[in-house]
């Protein structure tokens, strides 16, 4: 796709000022999201995956600071004023977070939650907003939308709340939806339905950034995957390629350690030893080296840079797994 990317992140870093000193949550991340693409950001706690996008949306907490650049259709987001950010938030990029109980204001009815974004901006009349709200609810697969409009968030089930949260994000017709762990708090059957909603949205041309730690969720929906570890981007690849032949030892380890229904059950899980570095821990060399089975001296001393190893594939590793001869 030669068109300009929707979101272009260059060398973005995020740090937090704490009483113990400056803590780096994200270091030098560069990636882009194209129109209509679904990019999955995979990582565990401390990987910085959430903070990366909080920085793009200007939602870092007071002691956080972002450096580098993130452009949405040419508009620079890092360091932008609230006014400039508000031109992108909602209408360009929308956010759905993990827990709809927290993201939906409890004392407002669903109708109000859906329409306040568009009405406050004066984008349409109340009647049009009401119509749009009904459509949005139908798009996310909620039956009897007219009745639902009168409900409060706590009167809905978890899955329905999350779908309402997605509907709220869609009201302002964004081109990019950032979904931060949207299904983590949901039951697996409900999760499947929410993922269906996201898939259908993708089919209509909406670009999605899916932040998650669940590789299974990624497999069903993502076009490309970016793997983060200890605040750095360690691998990017098309989804199929990543699952078939992961290049970075961390990705490979992660894929190997997840129990699957298709594996022989008595197989001992291939766990990655150790744990990820705590945020703020000073690391020399590759952050994954202490846990990596194929780590060598150079890995412990020199931090690897992200480099391209094949078309559309990048990895930050001194000794990535080769791509040839693998299914």
């Amino acid at each position: 796709m030669s068109a300009a990317p929707l979101l272009d992140i260059r060398d973005l870093g995020v740090e937090f000022a704490t009483p113990q000193g400056t803590v780096r949550a994200v270091t030098g991340v560069s990636l882009s999201v194209a129109t209509g693409e679904c990019l999955a950001i995979v990582g565990e706690s401390g990987s910085g995956k959430t903070q990366l996008f909080m920085a793009c949306l200007g939602l870092l907490s007071d002691n956080g600071r972002a450096v580098g650049s993130a452009r949405y259709l040419g508009t620079e987001l890092i360091g932008a004023s609230e006014t400039e950010l508000n031109r992108v938030r909602g209408v360009g990029m929308s956010l759905v977070t993990q827990d709809p109980l927290n993201s939906l204001t409890p004392h407002l009815r669903i109708e109000r939650l859906l329409t306040e974004g568009v009405l406050d901006r004066g984008l349409m009349s109340a009647a049009e907003a009401g119509q749009r709200a009904l459509e949005a609810l139908r798009t996310v697969g909620i039956t009897e939308p007219e009745a639902r409009l009168r409900h409060y968030p706590h009167e809905l089930s978890g899955g329905m709340r999350q779908r309402v949260a997605i509907a709220v994000a869609l009201m302002t017709a964004p081109k990019l939806l950032v979904a931060d762990e949207p299904t983590t708090a949901l039951d697996v059957t409900v999760q499947a339905r929410v993922l269906d909603v996201l898939r259908s949205l993708r089919a209509t041309g909406l670009a999605i950034v899916l932040i998650t730690h669940d590789l299974g969720v990624v497999a069903g929906i993502a076009d490309r995957v970016a793997v983060m570890y200890a605040g750095e981007l360690v691998e990017t690849a098309p989804a199929a390629g990543l699952f078939a032949a992961p290049a970075h030892p961390y990705t490979a380890g992660l894929l190997a350690s997840v129990p699957r229904l298709s594996d022989p059950a008595t197989l001992r899980l291939a766990a990655i030893e150790g744990q990820p570095p705590r945020p703020g821990e000073i690391v020399t060399g590759c952050p994954f080296a202490p846990r990596c089975a194929s780590a060598s001296e150079v890995c412990r001393e020199v931090a690897p840079r992200l480099r391209s190893i094949a078309s559309g594939r990048e990895v930050a590793c001194h000794a990535p797994f080769s791509q040839e001869g693998r299914v």
Partner: protein, 292 residues
């Protein structure tokens, strides 16, 4: 399996909180001033050549303003007694009453509240309704009756104050204990088969201490004020003992002719109260687990 993790705090949670408190300049300054005042209260009277109730006839008038010439650094009161000595002696009494009364209310309140909150159900109901009933009783009425019956002794004062202070402490602790009861580490302790009193003592109380300390620090000013109020009414400590409240009361009577008699004890009282409040705020921030 070795761990690449870094130890965050040097010691336990108390050390952690102490670090945070130290960074709060207002609280540290307040603590310093308080310590200085306590030292002054203990040592002060010895510095002056005058005794507490020594009437100095050598001065021209009975109530003389502060001056270094005659050695009365804070001046004398209408009876010719040195104010410097009296102020520090009064501070001693006020602080003593406050600390002891707070200690009494702390011990009773924490035990009552932690037990009620942990046990829950009917026990909690009865225990807290008892507190509610006591709350409703006219407190001043009882203090006055007790004072009349038992006389105005120092012990009575702080017992009376402590006996009321524990009610609010119990309520606060009960709320905390109620929340703690459902935490998984308490359930784990139950699953070990530990008896209730062990669980309360070992798991509930240490985890409410943070709130308790903060509340206690903020109670002390209230107690001092209450004692001052009692003194103002003439129900406080008896001669020859004096307290900041009594001094303020006496000073108020002489306000126009001898303003220093009101100003000096009021200033000391105000400084003590402000410092305790700053310290209490600082402690609250330092001990708040969410800030971790």
């Amino acid at each position: 399996m070795t761990d690449a993790g870094v130890q965050i705090g040097g010691g336990g949670l108390w050390a952690d909180s102490w670090q945070r408190l130290r960074r709060n300049r207002a609280a540290v300054t307040a603590l310093g001033v308080l310590v200085a005042l306590i030292v002054a209260a203990i040592v002060g009277p010895w510095l002056s050549p005058y005794a507490l109730d020594h009437v100095d006839w050598s001065l021209g008038a009975l109530a003389t303003p502060p001056a270094t010439a005659h050695g009365h650094w804070f001046g004398t009161d209408s009876n010719g007694r040195d104010l410097f000595v009296r102020v520090w002696a009064g501070t001693r009494v006020s602080l003593l009453v406050a600390l002891l009364a707070t200690a009494v209310s702390l011990v009773i309140g924490v035990a009552w509240g932690a037990t009620a909150g942990y046990l829950g159900g009917r026990a909690d109901n009865w225990m807290m309704r008892f507190v509610d009933v006591l709350y409703a009783l006219p407190y001043m009425f009882f203090v006055i009756i007790l004072t009349v019956v038992f006389g105005r002794s120092l012990w009575l004062i702080f017992l009376a104050i402590g006996a009321v202070g524990w009610l609010t402490m119990a309520r606060i602790v009960r709320g905390q204990a109620l929340a703690l009861r459902h935490r998984e580490f308490v359930e784990a302790a139950i699953a070990l088969g530990l008896p209730s009193r062990r669980i309360i003592a070992r798991h509930i109380v240490p985890n409410v201490l943070g709130t308790v300390i903060v509340y206690a620090t903020l109670t002390v000013p209230q107690v001092i004020l209450f004692e001052s109020f009692l003194s103002f009414l003439g129900l406080g400590v008896q001669e020859p003992l004096t307290s900041l409240g009594r001094l303020v009361a006496e000073g108020a009577l002489e306000m126009e002719s001898a303003p220093w008699l009101l100003l000096v004890p009021s200033a000391v009282l105000a400084v003590v109260l402000v410092c305790l409040n700053f310290l209490g705020d600082g402690l609250r921030d330092a001990l708040d687990p969410r800030q971790r």
